[in-house]
């Protein structure tokens, strides 16, 4: 059975999302931040990274978490909208330092919340946690007005290996 490595990002206490190893660029500890007035609360901060300012997405707020924990880590991620388009960068806020897990297709699980429909490429179980794999282009390239939760079924998960590639 195929297995893959994923990086777990704890976006709220005890709640994680995973990204493929290849999508992680860097983990920043307490980076310089700039608040963007009137931006959606889950994405109202720019992070300085190698002289550029990239958006910081707070999955905890996006998922409705009310906790006020300091999220000192910031995981810089890269993605492409298509194979032929340039690499783009964003970042995900994390409560703790990211950790690596090994998973295989037998861990595939339904999404924990309909909010993730259209914003996740896969989902798996890690111990007693259900861990979505965010679709980074959808997350970073969708204005908030289009990011309303979608009621309905779960995404089809053919292969975790494929979606963590």
């Amino acid at each position: 059975m195929a297995s893959s490595q994923a990086i777990l990002i704890e976006y709220a206490s005890g709640q994680c999302a995973a990204i493929a190893f290849a999508h992680m660029e860097e983990v920043l500890d307490a980076p310089a931040l700039i608040h963007v007035p009137l931006a959606p609360s889950h994405c109202d901060t720019l992070v300085e990274w190698h002289g550029d300012w990239i958006p910081m997405f707070d999955l905890g707020i996006w998922c409705g978490s009310q906790e006020q924990n300091a999220k000192r880590f910031c995981v810089v991620v890269s993605y492409r909208q298509n194979r032929d388009t340039p690499r783009l960068y964003g970042s995900l806020r994390s409560v703790s330092f990211p950790r690596i897990v090994e998973i295989d297709d037998s861990a595939a699980a339904p999404l924990p919340d309909p909010r993730w429909n259209g914003f996740a490429r896969a989902c798996f179980r890690d111990g007693d946690q259900v861990v979505p794999v965010p679709d980074l282009p959808a997350l970073f390239e969708t204005p908030d007005r289009q990011a309303a939760p979608v009621a309905g079924g779960d995404i089809s998960i053919e292969s975790l290996e494929e979606n963590l590639a």
């Binding site: 009137l38 959606p40 109202d44 390239e141 908030d144």
Partner: protein, 155 residues
Amino acid sequence: MTYPLRPETTPGYVAARLDDTTLLIDLLAVPNIMNDADTVQHNGRKVLRRNGRDLEPVPLAGSMQSFANGRRTQIMVVADKTGEFALSCDDIRVLPAAKLNVQPLPRCMGGPESLFVGMAMIDETIAFLCNAEELGTITRHLWEQEHGKLTSNPD
């Protein structure tokens, strides 16, 4: 939302600092930059006299959701489809478009409440590009919630 992000569409930008936030506005939407000394007292309010109208400078806070308390001495007059409005600012600079590299704001930062469409570095500061119409809408709405109609009527 469309807005000129290419330097060739505008000769320059006005960078206006409100607290910790620097706004960037198309120079063509700013008919004048004035200061506190240009104001007069009228009906107990401090106003600018422009083209036979009184224009009341609004001390919009950097959060864009309230008003600043501190004293500001510079005033930017902005024209939109409704007319003109004035913002009191901490600092105002006029910069040629060719000197600025204006980038679109990340798409995930857009939303129903969003005001900004782009951003540019000015020295060590990020300035946020907005258009006059939306800035005018927010300014009038906030002011009228707290103080009644914004003074910009003919005498």
